[in-house]
Amino acid sequence: MSDRAFPPSTEPGLTPPDLRPDDLAPDSTVRDDADGGGSEDATAISRAALAAEPIDARLGRRQWPLPKQADPNAPLLEVTNLRTHFTLESGIVKAVDGVSFRLDYGEALGIAGESGCGKTTTALSLVQILPANATIVEGSIRLMGIDLVPKTENQLRRYRWREISIVFQGSMNALNPVRRVRDQIAEPIEMRLGQSPRAARKRAGDLLELVGIPRKRGHAYPHELSGGMRQRAMIAMALACDPAIVIGDEPTTALDVMVQAQILELLEELRRKLGLSLVLITHDLSVIAETCDRVLIMYAGRVAEEGPVDEVFRRPRHPYTQKLLAAFPNIAADRRTLEVIPGLPPDLRDPPPGCRFAPRCFAAMAICSEEVPPEMTFEGVRVACHLYHVGDDGRPVTSAPVNALGPTAAGAG
């Protein structure tokens, strides 16, 4: 089983395999149906269909062989108890401190949190492109059952680009300013997949068209493209080697709202067409609400809450999630009060014992500053908070809003 290798198709093109997720009968009994998620939109359906697809059909999507030790029955990505620490002169920063999650085939997972919560470090850890002073001190990152943590730099090359690729935020910094866009996209195809320069350039052109850039514009240098176009080019590059997982690290943060909508729509379309799995790192909860299936809320290097977007955003359980959502301006709601989360995130060189959110939490109890809350699961939602106990019904505990930016303030004319 483990040495199953799939021969590359003779013509590496971009035509999606015959088996489109939309064509599949949505007769599946997937997890989401079980927790009564309610309104399923087009994306959710495609995901449900994908999850229902037989394993081999999924692998059949690939145009390149699987890694040799891949176990086709293992989850696509399973991160267990990941700890990534930075060594500074002033101490050790526990940027990621015991994070676990999994990503299924065709799924989009959003990782959210404020600056410094460890979301980007988590993403960089997945492909191990961390700064020199950072190390993964514990945990495993299993891609199709293969643990990537102990791999050497050389071995990791097999996985970067070809299995997991990243779209970064600052497309102006991430692209090489003195090389034509097409050539930059062709490079990983040549280097990683061993294609001829000619074939690589052709595929780069195909990729540009796929993301909505005319093939001819590939001759442009990055500065000749607009911000939205550059971000599209970055996405094309991330797709160059037909990876199973694309990580977007704040992929739309610097863009205008209309361009952001275009890019998010593109990602969604690509996900459906190519059966991609997506990890979206962002501070913008609304972007996650619109594009992801599941959300993982991080606080100070740990998981606060994780679960289906619909459940977590409608009925947040962790006080941090509740406050974070209440602090977010929402154009679809009434001119609602915006809430304040008092205080600042902790210094991760010396995090508070117990729950790290306790010093800022409206519901903090004595136990919160003593014991680290265990992660518990209710209705598919994982939450780490002392308000909940194993055996409870897991109904969200909420508080009356305090410290709000009230309508009296906003409405006075």
């Binding site: 939109d41 209309m258 909508a261 409608r314 301006p329 929402n330 989360i341 930016l405 303030a409």
Partner: protein, 337 residues
């Protein structure tokens, strides 16, 4: 409350494009970037007016003209009924600048890393010879404490790198407050900050409005933010105001197709219900560059409901009553004559 404090009339800012020597020899037509292309806007005393637009819409340029950092190429600016359009030079502007202050987006770049907080806040008082000695100290302390940095003595002698992002932005606000202004132009004041810190600053700004009777021109790209903070919203596109009105009217019943599209794509943290995605209007393409403004209505090439007239004739801002106005031919039938 409805008193007009500051008024812009027919404001235009055109930036010439630098031309090569060949262009001059060949006598090619001079090109200009029409950053702001004829806008009328009134800031009423005590209100929060949000100026919303995408990059390149001219919203920041408008803000800079209001504080007289950028020279308008045409149009009039009146402040408390007095024409200040032609007032230039540090000396002449001293009084105006005392009353109209600006806060920029990035507190990391606004603050001088080698200057203490005290010196940053005291500098405008020294430069403008407004106060010295004990009075100056008292005003610096009062400004810092008004901006929520209490007690001021804890912060005064620190350097910017010793503060968090939110605290830095408070220092910037203190620097504006120390002059005792009437109007604050806030250019994306919270865009660099995390949501949890953002609310505190917005609340501070609104509290200050009540305490000190401030008026804000709040410039932002984020319609959701404008929705929660502003009394009135003006939506700009390519140097023109497309829609203007009370926040409720502009967001809930937008009359310009551009505003409608912007509202529809503004993401919200509510998970989309059935069909929510279908209601989105994603405009194709990007804002054209302001050196090549389309003919007629400048939005027509991207407008989903454009018709013949839109390509040739530019719609004026039709008054739809209750302070709501939209620049769209489709709104003409409802316009008050």
């Amino acid at each position: 409350m409805d008193e007009d404090l500051l008024r812009l009339e027919g404001l235009e800012v055109h930036f010439p494009i630098r031309r090569g020597i060949m262009d001059s020899i060949m006598g090619r037509v001079k090109m200009v970037v029409r950053a702001v292309d004829g806008i009328d806007l009134t800031l009423r005393r005590g209100e929060v007016l949000a100026l919303v637009g995408e990059s390149g819409s001219g919203k920041t340029t408008t803000g800079r003209v209001v504080v007289k950092l950028t020279r308008q190429t045409a149009g009039r600016i009146t402040f408390e009924g007095e024409d200040v359009s032609g007032t230039w030079g540090t000396k002449a502007l001293r009084d105006y600048r005392r009353r109209v202050q600006i806060i920029f987006q990035d507190p990391y770049e606004t603050l001088n890393p080698k200057q203490t907080i005290h010196d940053f806040v005291a500098e405008p008082l020294i430069v403008n010879k407004l106060a010295s000695g004990d009075e100056r100290e008292a005003r610096v302390i009062a400004a810092l404490e008004s901006a929520g940095l209490r007690p001021a003595s804890d912060f005064m002698h620190r350097f910017p790198h010793e503060l968090s992002g939110g605290q830095r932005q408070r220092v910037v606000i203190a620097g504006a407050l120390v002059m005792g202004p009437d109007v604050i132009v806030a250019d994306e004041p919270v865009s660099m900050l995390d949501v949890s810190i953002r609310t505190e600053l917005l609340r501070l700004m609104l509290d200050l409005r009540h305490e000190r009777g401030l008026t804000y021109l709040f410039i932002t790209h984020d319609l959701s933010l404008a929705w929660v903070i502003a009394d009135r919203i003006a939506v700009m596109y390519l140097g023109k105001i497309m829609e203007l009105g009370p926040a409720e009217a502009v967001i809930r019943s937008p009359r310009n197709p551009y505003t409608r599209a912007l509202v529809s794509v503004s993401p919200s943290p509510d998970p989309p219900g059935t069909g929510a995605r279908a209601r989105r209007t994603i405009l194709a393409g990007e804002t054209p560059d302001a050196a090549h403004v389309p003919t007629g209505c400048r939005f027509h090439p991207r407008c989903p409901v454009a018709f013949d007239r839109c390509t040739v004739e530019e719609p004026p801002l039709f008054d739809l009553g209750d302070g709501h106005a939209a620049a769209c031919w489709l709104a003409e039938k409802d316009a008050l004559s």
